[in-house]
Symmetry: C2
Subunit: 177 residues, 2 copies
DNA sequence: GTGCCGATATATCGGGGCGATATAATCCGA
DNA sequence: TCGGATTATATCGCCCCGATATATCGGCAC
C-alpha cells in the first residue's frame, strides 16, 4: 500500500525522496527503511523514473537529490489500483491510505469501499461482543477491560463510517438531480 | 512480543503448538507463519523444550504433536520481561500483550506501564489536535475526517486508561491500609 | 572563524510478523 | 464411503520497522 500512496502523491507532481517522506507522514508514518527500497522496486518495475534534480543547479543543491516522476505505466497502475474495491481495500492497514486519496477515487468505488469496510467492522464488532460476554465471567479484570476497549473502538468507527456514508449518499442524490 | 505471550502461556501449563495458537488468538491474532518459527527460535535459545506428546499414547494421538514446556531459563526470561516498564512496554503493538498478563505483573510495574502509556497517548493526541486544526483548512473532507477519527480513537483510549489507573490507585490504597 | 547542532538526504541491515500454501491424519455426518 | 471440517506442523516470499551509517548544508553560539 505504500506503493499506492507513492503513486498517488507523484500523480500530483514529481518530487524527491525526502519530500515524499514528509508528505507520506501526513498519511501514515512509513519508515525510511520502507520508503527507499520501495522506490527502487517501483523504479525497477518501471512505475517511476528518477533523474538528478534539474533545478538543483541553483545554490541550494544540498546534496545529490533525485526527482521521481510517474511513468505512463505508473499512471495506469494508479488508475487500476484506485478502482479496486475488493476485500483488500477495506482492510485496516489499507483503508486509511485509500481514504487519503478518496478525492481522486470515483464516487461509486468510494461508496463500495465504505460499505465493505462497514460490513467488515460490523463482523468484528459482533465477534468482540461475543468475546466480551464470555470474558466478564472467565477472564481477569484487565483482559475483560481490554476486550471492552476493542469493542468501543469498533463501535466508534462504525458510527464514524455511518456519518461518512450518509454524507456520501446525500452528495450522490444531489448529483443525480 | 509473541515471545512474551508464549512465555506467559507456558508459564501456566505446558501445551502443544495448536493449543498455544488457540490461546494466543484470544490475546491477539498471530498468524501461524509467526508462531512456529518463533517456537523454534525459542527452543534454540533454550527458553522452551519440546517432547513428543506423552499422553498421546492414547487413542487420539492425531498426529505427532510436541508438547512445549518452559525451561528454567524461560521462566527467568518471563520474570525479566514482565518487569520491564520502559518505552517498549507501552507501544501500541506491545501494550495489549502486556495487559493480557497484568494479573501476573507486579502492581508497581502495572502502574508505571499504565502511566507511560497514558503519556504516550497524550502526546499523540496533541499531535493529532494540531494536525486536525490545520486539516480543516488545508485538506479535503475525507482526509480531515480521517484525522478526526484518529483523534477520537486517542481520546477514547485516554479516557479508558484513566478509568484503569483510577481503579489501580484505589486498589493500591486499599492494600496499603 | 569555527565548531557543533539540527535539518536535509539517501541507503542498508536484521528481524518480526503476515498471508498463502503444503501436507497429513483423523473425525463426523451425508 | 466419500468428502469436508478440524487438528497439527511447517515453509515461503513479502512488507514493513527501527537502528544505524553517511554526507551536506544552514545557522547559531562562543
Amino acid at each position: 500500500m505504500l506503493e499506492f500512496a507513492v503513486l498517488g502523491l507523484l500523480h500530483e507532481t514529481p518530487m524527491h525522496g525526502y519530500e515524499l517522506r514528509k508528505r507520506l507522514q501526513e498519511i501514515r508514518a512509513f519508515s525510511c527503511g520502507t520508503i527507499y527500497p520501495t522506490l527502487r522496486r517501483m523504479r525497477r518495475a518501471g512505475l517511476i523514473e528518477e533523474e538528478p534534480d534539474e533545478q538543483g543547479a541553483q545554490q541550494w543543491s544540498r546534496r545529490a537529490r533525485r526527482v521521481y516522476r510517474l511513468t505512463g505505466a505508473g499512471r495506469d497502475r494508479f488508475v487500476e489500483l484506485v478502482e479496486d474495491c475488493g476485500p483488500r481495500a477495506c482492510q485496516d492497514e489499507t483503508f486509511d491510505v485509500r481514504l487519503a486519496f478518496f478525492a481522486r477515487t470515483p464516487a461509486p468505488v468510494r461508496m463500495r469501499i465504505l460499505e465493505n469496510r462497514r460490513r467488515r467492522l460490523e463482523q468484528r464488532r459482533e465477534g468482540q461482543r461475543a468475546i466480551l460476554a464470555r470474558a466478564d465471567e472467565q477472564c481477569d479484570r484487565y483482559t475483560a477491560q481490554l476486550h471492552r476497549l476493542g469493542l468501543d473502538h469498533s463501535e466508534l468507527e462504525v458510527r464514524w463510517l455511518d456519518e461518512l456514508i450518509a454524507h456520501e449518499r446525500a452528495a450522490q442524490q444531489a448529483d443525480s438531480k
